[in-house]
Symmetry: C2
Subunit: 126 residues, 2 copies
Amino acid sequence: MTDTDASNRLPVWCAGKDWCPITATASLLGKKWHPVIVHRLLEGGPMGFNELKADVGGISSKVLSDSLEDLEDKQLVNREIVSEKPVRVNYSLTEHGESLESLIFEMRDWGMEHLDAAEEQEEAIA
Amino acid sequence: MTDTDASNRLPVWCAGKDWCPITATASLLGKKWHPVIVHRLLEGGPMGFNELKADVGGISSKVLSDSLEDLEDKQLVNREIVSEKPVRVNYSLTEHGESLESLIFEMRDWGMEHLDAAEEQEEAIA
DNA sequence: CAGAATCCCAGTGGATACTG
DNA sequence: CAGTATCCACTGGGATTCTG
């Protein structure tokens, strides 16, 4: 098997479907808070747990914790224990995470441009 | 800054959070099949239900139906009944839908560039 | 401060079978 | 051909409480 082919870099279940990376990316960015967390870290720089929580606003500890764990697993966020007593942790973006910047901003821009229509329509139904 | 800017076009629940459109967009793109459907329509042009189903691959009728309905509600996809007997429907992208093009392709590109590492890691865990 | 532990609900997604 | 109709399993997200 040749390693020079790009197709072998995709997960097996992709099986020649060129849209596969889209679902994969969507499952990342589709989580309610994931893109927001990355965005906050992009804008505000590295910060601690509660700081991040307040900065996001409206997220519970559990969900933030879960999200961060997931983002860490996916190597988008870096978790660094700064001090043990009292516990202080610092969250920052990895290079992977920072590479999402343009995508996230494009998501924001698209949402700003196109989503009020959808909102209006939902109101009309309700 | 002027008040005639984008901020007043955002949903109420955004309440000055500039990341709000991100969540909104994420909830769109986060549905498992939505971005894929849009992508297929971008690449393959307008098509019928079963054609689309085969083109996507691995999606059930119900899920495709649900997804299309949702995409229609959000005015991303156009549903046009071509003939009554036998029933023939044509799905195409609205301008709204087409405006997702760059975003979707960027998602694909990002996924292709950055997701194999995550996959490797998941394998390592499993 | 930074979370872990529980509990719980709604929403998605999937399998299968049926229909106009 | 283009869907509905069920039923079900899973999980993401939220509220609340507890802890080192």
